[in-house]
Subunit: 394 residues, 2 copies
Amino acid sequence: MTAMSYPANRPDRTRPTDTAAGIETTEAFERFAQRNDVFTRAMWDPQVRSKQTDAFFASYRMEAAPRRGDGFTQRDFALRNAAWLISDVVTNRFAAEGRREGFQAPISYDTPVAPQQVGVDDPAAMSAEIKRIARFFGADLCGVTELDERWHYTARVDTRDMSEAPLGLPDGLTSVIVLGHEMERDLVATYPSALAGAATGREYSHEAAVVMQLATYIRNLGYEAVASMNDTGLVIPYAVKAGLGEYARNQMVITPEFGPRLRFSKVFTNLPLAHDVPRPRGVRAFCDICTACADACPVKALPYGPPSDVAPNVSAIRGVRKWTSDAEKCFGFWAKLASDCAICMRVCPFNRDYARRRNRLWLRLALSPLRHLALRLARGHGKRRKPAEWWAGT
Amino acid sequence: MTAMSYPANRPDRTRPTDTAAGIETTEAFERFAQRNDVFTRAMWDPQVRSKQTDAFFASYRMEAAPRRGDGFTQRDFALRNAAWLISDVVTNRFAAEGRREGFQAPISYDTPVAPQQVGVDDPAAMSAEIKRIARFFGADLCGVTELDERWHYTARVDTRDMSEAPLGLPDGLTSVIVLGHEMERDLVATYPSALAGAATGREYSHEAAVVMQLATYIRNLGYEAVASMNDTGLVIPYAVKAGLGEYARNQMVITPEFGPRLRFSKVFTNLPLAHDVPRPRGVRAFCDICTACADACPVKALPYGPPSDVAPNVSAIRGVRKWTSDAEKCFGFWAKLASDCAICMRVCPFNRDYARRRNRLWLRLALSPLRHLALRLARGHGKRRKPAEWWAGT
């Protein structure tokens, strides 16, 4: 199967704010087809799919194989899978129609767009309102940026037969609201473990609820609003463009509030909104000298050296110069564990509790020309905590 | 239609911890039939149902009639209805089968009980674990008490035809986990308004997620666990028995952490758990001298004087000596507003921010023999804030 042809597949290659966001596309740029996402490939591509990957997915559906190892007992899987529940409920609602919503399709409207449109005289004030409502519903971060088709998939997959289907976004959308959801620090500290997956699952459940509520709010004001999790497009360039953080070697967005310890979700809308601007602070320069994540990766799926536009396999977007992981190696490790892994989040020097003054001071150092000193101070940072300690509450 | 006959309708009339909990039943005690709940009556009883009550329910489904009044604009209804969304999604999942889950039926199992049961040597440790997991999922309070059929409905209603149906709880349940969910103070301060209903809706959405996740966790451990919101039985006596707070004149449970500004939900289970004990602190004596809620009620639905076992109408449980509201008057006011009302929560002298030392001091005074002084100090407490101020964030 080939990707859709130009121009649908090759929208304007650059935008004025790309440089500030640290985004660099090349002549080879192509929009990404969802079917090549490694999770989606695990549903159809014999190169990725295996008994292990099937068992990985089954383990989330009461078919875990608990073992004696600390972090992989019945209780650990129980918490992880319970944490995912609300996300699962949302994802399964229209599965019979081929839409695993939140992952392989955007979330359907539960309520229509109100016939009466609330007037918006001041898009900046409306952006401020939306950020407040996002926090009211439980988002930890919120930024707004312009819609940019480069980051949208060329097609989604119909999960009944894995054929390609249109994304199904309404016409005329202009903005993307990007939401950040903090993952629990003490659980992330236990990666790799099934227990740690509870941090991931809980935030997927949170984000499902928050984007659905926020989108419903906007539709009640008389505007289109599509709630989106991992579906429809790449959230990372949107999060960076919306000023929430910077892209790092570990494939994550580093934020001043939580470092990389976040999940992101989004709402596509035509509500008139003022846009945030990218705010580079110096993460790129720090990642240039730090390889903590690449060193710690058990399967060496993370890149060394400078950003490049080499895609290790079809599961990476083409024509973007960036640090790119080998998603096949990464997901292969998840399948072996029967749980997700985020060692690269745990060991990241930016993964800290920024409520503490000393960590805020470290951050200033890391983003300054004294970054080498900050790197030295971060030696041994992010050691694994024993899952049993989390359970003991110590 | 008559209630089910003795003994199903009249379980043991008292329990040893009743006195500590301030619960007093009389010879006239009868379990409550859900069909007599005023919200359920609004679906079938011409004495309650009216054009206004139909419009009240419709207003939550994109059919609000916004007006110019502060707190009742399109934006106010939008936030309220968006806040309810997750609760609505849960409630509607099996509506076609006559179960409005979370309100007229308990929440169906999304995952089965695991075949392998985790051993529980120490029910006290398991209670501590459950409380921690409840908080992990977002509950603000958690207590555990014994199952007590007195508070269960004699029957639920099948919402297709409003006939009575069995509650459908599995056999052998022993405990009830009671969860408390704090409502936002600044929104509650704007009651009555459609905006304030966002505080209620958000917590219903929270509680739906939390009880479903907690119950899923317990089932993953190999035990029965039924997630429950307003369905199946009365949560107030359970909350009091679980030591979370005391019953007050305004029909609410007053907690030391949030005063009356809470919603409660519950999980029924056979997981071996140690039980909490009621912790009376002196709210009863304060309510004896305070009538702030009854004075403020626009339709005089709240009682003056001491607790009594007089039921104003069929929407009150019979044979329990307590402060009992006139639910018909109360709900009639909601219907007129096209929004819920909780003025009685707003004006309650216990409705305070207990993060503040001066409010903690006031609480000590209110629960001491100096309660008359505390009451005088609370004069003018709980004035309505303008909804426009909430929107302005001031």
